[in-house]
């Protein structure tokens, strides 16, 4: 019997996929089974369009304990018996519809992924993209998203270490809200998300189940949507207080030996939680939906199984310990109910009382088809990549100040303090470097160590050249960590793209992942977890391909961390790295777009030099040779120097260093592999010797001092002027 297109659309399955299900089951699926297949085979849960591409990403290193897909988040060893657990995940579509709750529940979901593993969450970050703030609707989305992150995160008592915020036209109807969480656990106490051990009990803990969030995974996250208002009911409402209780109770539980596993309920609710843990455990599960506590009357088994009500956990309790586990949750005033058990037959059996409403093999439910396609490079990329710097006038000594001030005040570059001060970033007593530096630094109590965190992803580069953009996203994140003195350990990524069923978008996805894979291999940084958010489109227009990289690094001795601001008058300022000014390095730069309205030209990176530069910077910091290190990124050299000046209110008196070629490229070009460092005069020759050993150019730019930034006679501005532009730039637009 052919099922209607409307029904298949509702669960986001194609006719072909439906036929496959019928063939494998040997019969038509029941209504509940169809809903379960739709969710588990969705892009959000099943990764059907991205799985084949993601395999290219390296995921091994000596320190990696949990690889992507094995558990809710990846884990790396940091020594002293400790591991960090981390993941980034998108909540783009819900945030487009209901910004406050969408962003809030994004935080809630990613936090559950972390404490599910028995790790205490110690840091949050967010990577955000919006349309221009000149538009009232974008301002509404921005305010709602920031408010939701603050409202939920602050209530949990987990410091939010910032992240990044960018603006571009392509995000106007489709903001990106990626939430990152990192936790810390004892290596021997990691909890697995496995439904294992026949006869063990499935306990549902936390919120009651309601009709909220039905079809979140199959609907919102796995296809484009035109009439967004229709989908408002698919957005959930968060209760951070309940989540806080769950964190404390579940971490207490993780210390016991009463449980066999734990899994949060996220996208596709009970369906994915129970079936995926059964798949990991290698057995089956049986659930009676009548035992699931409900928020409202008259819910069908289908609704119970697909509800995405927030703040719920599934605990696999060892038989005989259910009384103890229940008592623990009672103490935290959390509701807990046994809703089923682990079976040995490999079947996911859902019952309503005595009536079986779904009975399908776990392996089939979790084996969504994998699509891989050959696609051609889109022709239009030629037009974007073909850019001649000589088509625009170069700067003169008379007119270089104004573009610097405009760049500093542009929302992409301006200080984000008016956002970060709304996030509690100091709770936990670990925050060494606050949000807003190249990377945030948190010390690890009980050790001498610290971790360093950053998120990066320049979507404009990826739009013009997805392969190079993918490389640069990884390289820049690693460079930011190097500037803080941290050895990069691992990354987690969130791949935000348009509809992958379109050739051009699939090409972008494929090339971006290939670029990231290459950079990860060369820099020896494994990818330990991640998330894919596809179908980010409005009215048929895809967003820029936006891979977001969140990376963690390790500082062996916290005292030896480094920050971006100049420290003392009289220190010498050097540019480490690419000193050859390449005219084309203004390609795809913030300068070219903001000042000339052009989004064109390949970005540029020499990966081999990048690696030497990062090693050189790390050694300089660990040997105590340099006092500050700051990565040259958006806005180029002039912006980076201004930021290093503004951090501690110390100016720069420049030398007439050698710069061949165009001045706009020298000042505002975005050639990668460049770090600005400051050094005490007595350490100067040691730094030069070190740079020489790594074959890294060290160009002396000037001396720290005064209250102005001067550059080669081109830039001459007081710190007050620079500060007003940079500090107030974003806030003025809100």
């Amino acid at each position: 019997m052919p099922v209607s297109k409307e029904i298949l659309d509702e669960v986001a399955l194609s006719q072909k996929e439906y036929q496959l299900i019928v063939e494998k089951l040997g019969r038509e699926p029941t209504e509940v089974e169809l809903g379960m297949f739709g969710s588990l085979w969705s892009e959000h849960c099943g990764y059907k369009h991205s799985k084949a591409l993601l395999r290219q990403l390296p995921s091994r290193s000596k320190r990696v304990l949990v690889k992507p897909g094995e558990e809710n988040a990846g884990a790396v060893d940091i020594g002293d018996g400790l591991v960090v657990v981390m993941k980034i995940e998108s909540h783009n579509h819900p945030s487009a519809i209901e910004p406050y709750q969408g962003a809030a529940t994004g935080v809630g979901g990613i936090v559950r992924d972390i404490f599910t593993m028995g790790a205490r969450p110690i840091a949050l970050m967010n990577s955000l993209r919006f349309g221009p703030l000149t538009d009232a609707h974008n301002r509404y989305l921005f305010g709602g998203v920031v408010g939701g992150i603050a409202g939920y995160g602050n209530c949990l008592g987990i410091p939010d270490m910032g992240g990044e915020i960018y603006f571009a036209d392509c995000y106007a109807g489709n903001p990106l809200v990626n939430a990152f969480c990192l936790g810390i656990a004892r290596a021997d106490k990691l909890v697995k998300a496995r439904a294992k051990g026949e006869g063990n009990l499935l306990m549902l803990v936390g919120a009651d189940t309601g009709r909220d969030g039905l079809h979140g995974a199959s609907g919102l996250a796995s296809r484009t949507f035109e009439e967004e208002r229709e989908l408002r009911s698919t957005v959930q409402v968060g209760n951070p207080f309940l989540e806080k209780l769950l964190i404390e109770a579940c971490l207490e539980l993780a210390e016991t030996d009463w449980i066999a596993g734990m899994q949060d309920l996220g996208a596709a609710g009970l369906t994915s939680s129970a079936v995926e843990s059964a798949a990991r455990g290698g057995g089956g599960i049986e659930i009676d939906v009548l035992k699931v506590p409900r928020r409202e009357k008259g819910m069908t088994p289908y609704e119970v199984m697909l509800s995405e009500s927030q703040e719920r956990m599934l605990v696999v309790v060892k038989k005989g310990y259910e009384g103890k586990v229940k008592a623990l949750f009672d103490r935290w005033e959390l509701r807990s109910d046994i809703i089923g058990s682990v079976t040995g037959d490999g079947i996911a059996r859902i019952k309503e009382g005595k009536k079986v409403v779904a009975e399908a093999p776990v392996n089939l439910l979790t084996s969504s088809p994998v699509y891989q396609r050959r696609v051609k490079r889109p022709e239009w990329l030629n037009r974007l990549q073909d850019f001649d710097a000589n088509s625009i006038p170069d700067l003169s000594r008379k007119n270089a100040n104004s573009p610097l001030l405009r760049l500093l005040a542009s929302p992409n570059i301006a200080s984000k303090h008016c956002v970060y001060r709304q996030y509690d970033h100091q709770v936990g007593d670990n925050t060494v470097v606050l949000p807003g530096s190249d990377a945030a630094v948190l010390r690890i109590k009980g050790t001498k160590k610290a971790i360093s965190l950053t998120t990066d992803g320049n979507a404009r580069y990826c739009y013009v050249n997805p392969y190079l953009g993918g490389i640069i996203a990884v390289a820049e994140a690693a460079r930011n960590l190097s500037c803080s003195g941290a050895q990069p350990l691992a990354l987690t990524n969130c791949l935000n793209f348009g509809n992958p069923e379109k050739d051009d978008v699939y090409y972008q996805l494929k090339e971006c992942i290939a670029g990231m894979a290459r950079a990860c291999q060369e820099l020896k940084i494994p990818v330990i977890s991640g998330n894919v958010s596809l179908y980010n489109e409005t009215k048929g227009e895809a967003i820029y391909p936006t891979p977001v990289v969140a990376m963690v690094g390790l500082i062996e001795d916290v005292v030896k961390h480094c920050t971006s601001g100049f420290k003392n008058e009289g220190d010498l300022v050097f540019l480490l790295g690419d000193s050859q000014t390449i005219d084309s390095s203004i390609g795809s730069s913030e300068y070219l777009e903001l000042i000339h309205g052009i989004t064109k030209g390949n970005p540029y990176i020499d990966l081999e030099m990048e690696i030497r530069l990062q090693h050189c910077c790390l050694e300089a910091i660990s040997r105590g040779l340099i006092k500050s290190a700051h990565d040259c990124s958006d806005g180029g050299l002039a912006v980076a120097l201004a930021e290093s000046c503004l951090a501690n209110g110390l100016g720069l008196i420049s030398y007439d260093w050698k710069a061949e070629g165009r001045m706009d490229a020298a000042l505002f070009g975005e050639a990668q592999s460049r770090i600005i460092v400051s050094v005490a005069p007595k350490s100067m020759w040691k730094l030069e010797k070190l740079a020489d050993r790594y074959h890294i150019a060290a160009t002396r730019l000037g001396t720290v001092g005064g209250k102005r930034l001067t550059l080669k006679g081109y830039i001459d501005l007081s710190l007050k002027q620079l500060g007003e532009a940079w500090w107030d730039g974003l806030e003025k637009l809100l």
Partner: protein, 228 residues
């Protein structure tokens, strides 16, 4: 001496207070569950920061009904020391142990930032180790921290020198820009009439090590230790 740190559902500064006291100041510190009814073994009780019961209603409005609050009233009546930080200050105001109320910040946003506090009275159990007028660098993190009291109460607080800390500039000037939330008279912390209950919005437990940017918070803990 022994510190007790109360945990209400939703409290989150409990661990930071415990860390500052036991790891940095090497004091005995224990957690107290909100259902506890006997506080007799403690010398000083801390009501830490957080969002007790989610603070969906007025901050602290539900926590004040916790069983431990009855015990806390007896504890304060005995003259023992109590310090309420952030949410703890809000709970103390809600319970009537301190006068006034903490309203939503005048900027209508959560604020997490470093502030400077001028010590206004050094002859209290909480400030005895401070110099007169000493400026302490201690951060805030709150959404409802704008201190409000009626004119009579405010005049009384001023006259009795019960305003212990005011938001100030780094050099100790009391100015409007130095006030992060619109508190009346730049009030950051007050004590009760008896002088044994302190409420303050800034977090001294977050300023416990130079590595974290300041260790000025320790002066408050050291004052408490010295007074017992």
């Amino acid at each position: 001496m022994k510190f007790g740190i109360i945990i209400f559902p939703g409290t989150w500064s409990d661990r930071d207070c415990h860390y500052a006291l036991s790891d940095i100041l090497k004091q005995k510190a224990e957690y107290i569950w909100h259902k506890e009814t006997d506080l007799s073994e403690y010398d000083c009780v801390i009501l830490p920061g957080g969002f007790s019961y989610g603070d969906y209603l007025r901050s602290g409005a539900i926590a004040r009904f916790s069983p431990v609050m009855t015990a806390l009233e007896r504890f304060t009546a005995q003259g023992k020391l109590v310090i309420g930080i952030c949410n703890g200050f809000q709970i103390l105001c809600e319970s009537g142990l301190l006068p006034g109320a903490l309203l939503t910040n005048d900027n209508l946003q959560y604020r997490c930032q470093w502030t400077h506090l001028r010590t206004e009275n050094t002859s209290t159990a909480f400030t005895s180790q401070c110099e007169n007028g000493q400026v302490l660098k201690i951060p805030i993190g709150h959404y409802e921290g704008r201190y409000y009291a009626d004119d009579t109460t405010l005049a009384e607080l001023e006259a009795d020198k019960r305003i212990i800390f005011r938001y100030a500039t780094a050099t100790g000037k009391i100015t409007e820009p130095a006030n992060p939330n619109g508190s009346m008279n730049n009030i950051a912390g007050i004590i009760n009439k008896k002088g044994n209950v302190l409420g303050m919005m800034p977090h001294p437990e977050r300023a416990c090590e130079p590595l974290l940017g300041s260790s000025d918070g320790n002066i408050i803990w050291e004052s408490i230790i010295a007074s017992i």
